[in-house]
């Protein structure tokens, strides 16, 4: 649709200039299948005389010299064809599909471009390639599809998100790119509402040309277009469905009951304690993982109706998707229903309306995951010697470790649900002021109502367990003193919150395009954008829900005496953005293209001192293969691109520049908690956005006619990082609810190389092969930290343990810091003769390296700690392959992430906690291991954070393997079916890795500095599916 309009504009403009009138030549344009092509441009070569084909694919041209004239016929997605008129009056012209997609129109932000003309570095993915994977979330489906974009999963639970990182980590704040769906802003967190089946195409802007989006472009921009209808086409109905079964892709190798008892006895004996098991022959015992992991169903159904009349196109869709979790089934479910209407209509010759509307209803229930105390953490550490239930039927208590609870009981007692109703849409009016000047106004909105409900029944997991809400095994409530001498019972509670969020964005811009003597092309875009975001919520907690039962879990049902315990809360925020932008593009022939972008943004996130910023970008490209003396036959197409520009990141808390009295000032008077005030976050009126300066040089070429190659090298430096550093205690910002101010300090650099290679056999009837490979190499480094700050500490290791990750000059963001091991002390003699004193070491203990060479291992400061890993992969690779043979198709998708490490942080270092099977190879006097330390209940230094707990996180994963069969269309014709395909498909069938944990594809659920820390990660499921798609 958009393509056609553009052509229309272009050629109406051209025909406006034509004058003379001689012979009339008519004709039709068709594609190779014989379908008529509407909107193709037909121009007499060397002139401005041209027309576009009408709804019958026909054109009519007045030609001065019909004997020698040559017609150039072009249409996006097709190769330009040249046909001699040869005096003919009625000509049929056939256009061939352009496999290279060089002239395919793509949306680049307030305008369009083609691969040939675009001066920036981008990656484009067809919606079909994502849909084929049957992955419910767009971000997860995008993994491994394009270079320069690293996507790692934050959780394998249904509805769990992923981290999208375009060209590395550039801040430890918000690294999410700006995501626009049909021009409407989507949060990375809100991606659950997007049905991958609705996506027509994805375009990732990676370099500074994303700067048209100014203060929000520093992390890159992802432009998603949803499916649109086609003009003059009958309604076409597509239905697709799949059903699948998910299971865990992996279980950990843990000790069974016999091994557990044997090792625990040894551990206690070594510590000089009584051994806990008099009999160690306990068989296999309980396999807690087998109890927790279940096979879970997944299903998806989509229907799309699309088509168009002469003036209107439409695409209407509906979908239903539901997925249970492999942990907890419906306790960790995600269900999505949505309805979509895309409508575009030519209201008059000059006025077009484009309307997009999407309604989504999402339901998600969740369990505690990826943290200490999560279901899987408890599963891994539960004792194989305890059964799930005791002989009298209650859940076993796993009493010996106070912070490990029965994971089955935990799942049963968790009721945590979120409901989202979301309306997203856009109304866009484009008015052609002249043939080459278009004025577009659009209003887009994104309104979501989010309802949360958490029911906390009275539970008893065993004596002394922290998550207990009851007083005792009989589930008696605890009591709370509400006034001196007066106590009330505190029973089951329910927490409910209703929040609403709304985005409104008004954008108005002019697109002007002019050709001067057909050699010079000048495109100008200028406009403004007004964006507001509001959010507000009220919530309440009510106690004493009747019968301790979910059935009554509503605030209205509470029986709290006098309502004393119940409490309420609320929050609200607003933010605004006011922007103007201009872009000039100049094209010289088909060889040179240049572009200049300037955007000015004002953001309410910053104080009056620094509210506005200006973001410029310049870029250019040279299509070498269009040079006259170009003669490299093997490289039909060759293009060079360069870009440099500045963009910003304003993703920080609202009003961070102001000092607010929102700290916590609570104290107990008369035995009642009394609320006062305190300064919250300290102010910094000079706060401004982070700026990213990015240089990109790249090339696109086709090689041997069939290989389509893109390469990019980039240097991306982020300055003035929005930093909430530690400040001197003397400033007084470390009370409850008080925080240091945000400041701008610190620089981060990302340098990288990207490669994309596509290969496609030429269309032949019997078989087809297409493959795509992409690779990304990134080096991330912190260049500068604020004055006086050596490093910013990140995540900690173990329970109550020290810092494991840091943001520090000279290292990658979030690198792992700890002790480096040097084997195991084999004997007392070795310890005594060691040149390095390691206090408390005994034979069988880990031996640490003396990094600062002072002759002793220092455990009371950081002087012997060093880098022992990084969560950032050196290389990520994606590989797609598809083979068709007659009606059969086979496709696969591989993803590899290499060179990163993962911290094994799901082992509870407690005497009774279960352990991984590697402990069977522990050091003993008879087994002089150099790798695995001895087991003892004695105090040792083996539990400090060292490379013993850091594992190679590299992996190669077969993400999708699919075998399909497309029925012969001739056979289907009688049933009035256009096409039909059935398939079987498997996701995550195979993962090759040395990592011992559940899943090496681990993102970060606790901020940038917690990346690569495994707390018992909810693994992505292995899914076996069967599906069908039919088109009427």
């Amino acid at each position: 649709m958009v393509k056609k309009i553009l052509n229309l504009i272009l050629f109406l403009g051209l025909s406006f200039l034509s004058v003379a009138q001689t012979t009339t030549v008519t004709g039709t344009v068709k594609d190779t299948t014989g379908q008529i092509v509407i909107g193709a441009a037909v121009v007499v070569k060397g002139t401005n005389n041209g027309k576009i084909t009408n709804e019958n694919g026909a054109f009519s041209l007045n030609i001065q010299d019909p004997k020698t004239a040559i017609l150039q016929v072009s249409y996006s997605g097709y190769k330009t064809n040249e046909v001699a008129v040869n005096g003919g009056k009625n000509i049929e012209i056939v256009l061939r599909e352009n496999s290279l997609g060089l002239s395919e129109v793509m949306v680049v932000g307030y305008g369009t471009s083609t691969k040939k003309e675009f001066t920036g570095a981008n990656s484009k993915v067809d919606g079909e390639d994502l849909q084929k994977l049957n992955i419910p979330r767009f971000d997860q489906a995008l993994q491994g599809q394009v270079s320069g974009v690293n996507i790692s999963t934050n959780s394998g639970s249904p509805g769990g998100g992923a981290s999208i990182r375009i060209r590395g980590l550039s801040t430890f704040g918000d690294n999410d790119p700006l995501i626009l769906v049909d021009g409407v802003v989507f949060d990375a967190a809100g991606l659950n509402s997007l049905n991958p089946d609705d996506i027509a195409s994805v375009n990732v802007l990676k370099d500074a040309t994303a700067g048209i989006y100014g203060v929000r472009a520093a992390n890159g921009v992802i432009l998603i277009e949803t499916k649109k209808g086609k003009r003059n086409s009958k309604p076409s109905i597509s239905i697709s469905s799949y059903f699948g079964v998910q299971s865990t892709s992996r279980k950990l190798d843990l000790l069974n009951a016999t091994e557990y008892a044997t090792l625990k006895n040894e551990m206690f004996a070594n510590g000089g304690d009584d051994v806990p098991f008099s009999n160690v022959n306990l068989g296999e015992g309980t396999d807690w993982q087998a109890e927790v992991f279940q096979n879970a169903p997944i299903q998806s159904h989509n229907i799309t109706i699309s088509g168009g009349s002469e003036k209107t196109t439409y695409s209407i869709g509906g979908s239903y998707f539901t997925q249970d979790g492999i942990v907890g089934l419906d306790k960790s479910n995600f269900t999505r229903m949505n309805a979509r209407v895309n409508l575009s209509t030519q209201m008059s010759d000059k006025l077009r309306l484009t309307s997009v509307f999407l309604y989504t209803k999402e339901q998600r229930s969740t369990l505690r995951e990826n943290q200490i105390g999560s279901v899987l953490y408890n599963t891994v550490n539960a004792f194989p010697t305890d059964s799930v239930r005791t002989s009298d039927g209650r859940y076993s208590y796993l009493e010996e470790v106070s912070d490990i609870i029965n994971p089955i009981a935990q799942m049963e007692n968790t009721f945590n649900e979120a409901n989202v109703n979301k309306f997203v849409g856009k109304e866009e009016l484009a008015y052609d002021i002249t043939d080459n000047l278009t004025f577009t106004n659009r209003l887009s909105y994104n309104y979501a109502i989010v309802d949360d409900k958490v029911f906390s029944p009275l539970v008893w997991y065993g004596p002394g367990k922290a998550p207990n809400t009851a007083l005792n095994e009989d589930l008696d409530p605890t009591s709370v003193e509400i006034a001196p001498g007066t106590s009330v019972d505190r029973g089951a509670s329910v927490y409910e919150q209703r929040a609403s969020y709304s985005d409104l964005n008004f954008e108005s811009f002019l697109n002007h395009e002019v050709r001067i003597k057909s050699l010079h092309r000048i495109k100008t875009t200028a406009g403004l954008s007004v964006f507001t975001r509001n959010g507000q919520a009220v919530n309440g907690t009510a106690y004493n829900i009747p019968n301790n039962d979910l059935e009554f879990a509503d605030i209205s049902a509470n029986l709290a005496p006098g309502g004393y315990l119940n409490n309420t809360g609320s929050f609200q925020f607003q933010e605004r953005l006011l922007s103007t932008f201009i872009r000039g593009e100049y094209g010289y022939g088909s060889r040179f293209n240049g572009s200049f972008i300037l955007r000015r943004d004002g953001s309410s996130k910053f104080g009056p001192n620094n509210r506005y910023g200006i973001f410029p970008t310049v870029s250019g490209s040279w299509v070498i293969s269009e040079e006259k003396n170009y003669a490299i036959d093997r490289m039909k197409f060759l293009k060079l691109r360069v870009s440099y520009g500045i963009s910003g990141n304003d993703q920080i808390d609202n009003f961070a520049y102001r000092g607010l009295l929102n700290g916590e000032g609570h104290y107990v008077f008369d035995d009642i908690i009394t609320q006062g005030v305190a300064i919250g976050r300290a102010s910094n009126p000079d706060l401004k956005w982070e700026t990213t300066r990015q240089f990109n040089i790249g090339t696109d070429f086709t090689f041997l006619h069939s290989f389509d190659v893109t390469m990019n090298y980039f240097i991306k430096n982020t300055r003035d990082l929005l930093f909430q550093p530690e400040v001197s205690a003397v400033l007084g910002t470390y009370g409850a609810g008080s925080f240091p101010p945000f400041i701008n300090a610190g620089d981060v650099s990302n340098k990288g190389f990207e490669l994309e290679v596509g290969y496609k056999t030429k269309s032949s009837k019997i078989w087809n092969l297409s493959t795509g490979l992409n690779a990304t190499f990134i080096r991330n480094k912190v260049i500068k930290t604020p004055k006086g700050v050596d490093f910013l500490p990140g995540a900690s290791f173990g329970v109550g343990g020290g810092t494991a990750t840091r943001f520090q000059e000279g290292y990658a963001i979030g690198y792992f810091i700890g002790y480096e091991t040097d084997g195991i002390f084999q004997s007392q003699e070795e310890i005594d003769n060691s040149p390095v004193v390691q206090e408390g070491a005994k034979p069988g203990d880990l031996r640490y390296k003396d990094i600062n060479n002072d002759g002793k291992i220092s455990f009371s400061d950081d002087s012997d700690k060093t880098q022992i890993g990084t969560p950032i992969p050196k290389v990520t690779l994606g590989f797609n392959v598809k083979v068709d043979y007659k009606g059969i198709d086979l496709s696969g998708n591989l993803f590899a992430s290499l060179g990163q490490q993962i911290v094994r942080n799901y082992e509870r270092q407690q005497p009774y906690a279960n352990q991984l099977a590697y402990n069977i190879n522990r050091w003993t006097a008879d087994n002089p291991s150099q790798e695995y330390h001895r087991l003892t209940t004695d105090l040792t230094r083996n539990t400090v954070f060292s490379d013993f707990y850091v594992e190679n996180g590299s992996f190669l994963r077969l993400r999708n393997l699919q075998l399909g069969y497309t029925f012969n269309p001739l056979l289907l014709k009688k049933a009035k079916i256009q096409s039909a395909r059935v398939y079987i498909s498997a996701n995550n069938l195979l993962t090759i890795t040395q990592y011992q944990g559940f899943d090496p594809d681990i993102g970060s659920s606790g901020g940038t500095l917690a990346a690569g820390i495994d707390y018992g990660f909810y693994p992505q499921a292995r899914t076996l599916m069967t599906g069908l798609s039919i088109k009427f």
Partner: protein
Amino acid sequence: MRKIINKTIAIALLCSLPLAYGCKDFLDIDPLYTQDSENFFQTPVDYDRALIGAYDLLQGSFINLWIGEIASDNALAGGEGVTDTEGLHQIENMSHDAVNNELRNVFRWNYAGVTRANFLLENQNNIDFEGKDVIIAEAKFLRAYYYFQLVKYFGDVPLLVDKRIGAEEVTKIDRTPKSEVYNQIESDLNAAAQVLDWTRQVKGKVTKGAALSLLGKVYLYQNKFDLAKNTLDLVINEGPYDLIDNFNNLFKVSNEGHKEVVFDIQFSGAEGGSYDCFICLEGNAAVGYHGIKNYNGPVYGDGNSYNLPTQDLYDVFEDDDIRREATILDLADFISKQPKPDEIEFFQAAGHTGYYNHKYIKRKGEIGLPDNDLTSPLNLIVIRFSDVLLMAAEAHMRSVTKNESLAQTYLNRVRDRVKMPELNNGGDQLLEDIWAERRLELSMEGQRFFDLVRTGKAATEITGFQTGKHEVFPIPQVEIDLAGGNWTQNNNY
């Protein structure tokens, strides 16, 4: 054509004009329903609320219960192992250095307290209203308390009075000599004592007695014995305090606010807690942490086995001194006396003594909301009357004009309560007796280390204590760096 273009420009301008005009206002939005720190102190209620914010930081003193004992010969750090709150293990071994999270917490939390008190005091002249003098007096008391903690731990510390500073300014200030900080503390406490009453209607508000007793302590720490004895005598003679009969009832929730309490920090079990933010807690985390690891049995609650009394402490008590059992829980002995000892479970890590802090321990019936390791409602008694008596006795003995008989009277008043025989020595032996009594009476209350340092006995009593170094803790290195790197570290760190 031209007409059309002109029209376009007009339309574009018209559309964007209101925006351009409204530009400035459009982005100038205020946060809703929130007060700004710069336009506060408009009503008496504002003062009251700011004062509550300043009180809040008192609760951070739970950490003093740990460090004050673990640094001394009284207690071990305990916990799961040497990496469990590592800073405490370093302090136990006198191997602590300038990188220590627990010491940093002390530094941060007390300065947060100072800052919140200063925030109020710098605005004290905004408006006038009845009762303002009491609020100002309380704020001064709080500031004095926080500064006293800071000088006790770190010696010289930057002194800020009635003002707050920013990140730039902090690089321009130096550590203030300890004596000047003490001058400010004395002046604040004197001012507070003049205004405050001996008793307050609201439980938890500081009193004249609290201010005077703290002042007496501050004098004692500076060896100003004449001032100390006068101040403390005033508390003994005019204050409403007395020793309670049963030593075992000193640290019970049901008995809070008894007549022996001179100054205590209030806690509540009515708010849950998170390990992410200890200073946000309304419960007394020390108490939960003192609980017995994985304990399942009568009377006590389970906890993390922190701050464990040493054998050395156990041995100083006479067998018939009831304070031994009241101070130290001998778990094996306790279990053996229970009706079903076999059913009681607990976990004792290697190196633990089997003794637990019996004054501040999680007991059944005194348990806050989950997670109850963090939410004990048990108040922390900072100064109780027996401490005042023993401080006064010491001051009288060390003053230029000794008063042995009064010192004996005070000492024996403390001993009589626990049915211990009177001690009637004189001279140096009496002073030694007073100091010994302090250990018997006040152990596991967070005072021992500072008493040993103050009396010059630390080097002989604490293994690893180096004279000239360990009298004060190191200023956290990161604090020196963040203040521009100009502060000199304490000696020998």
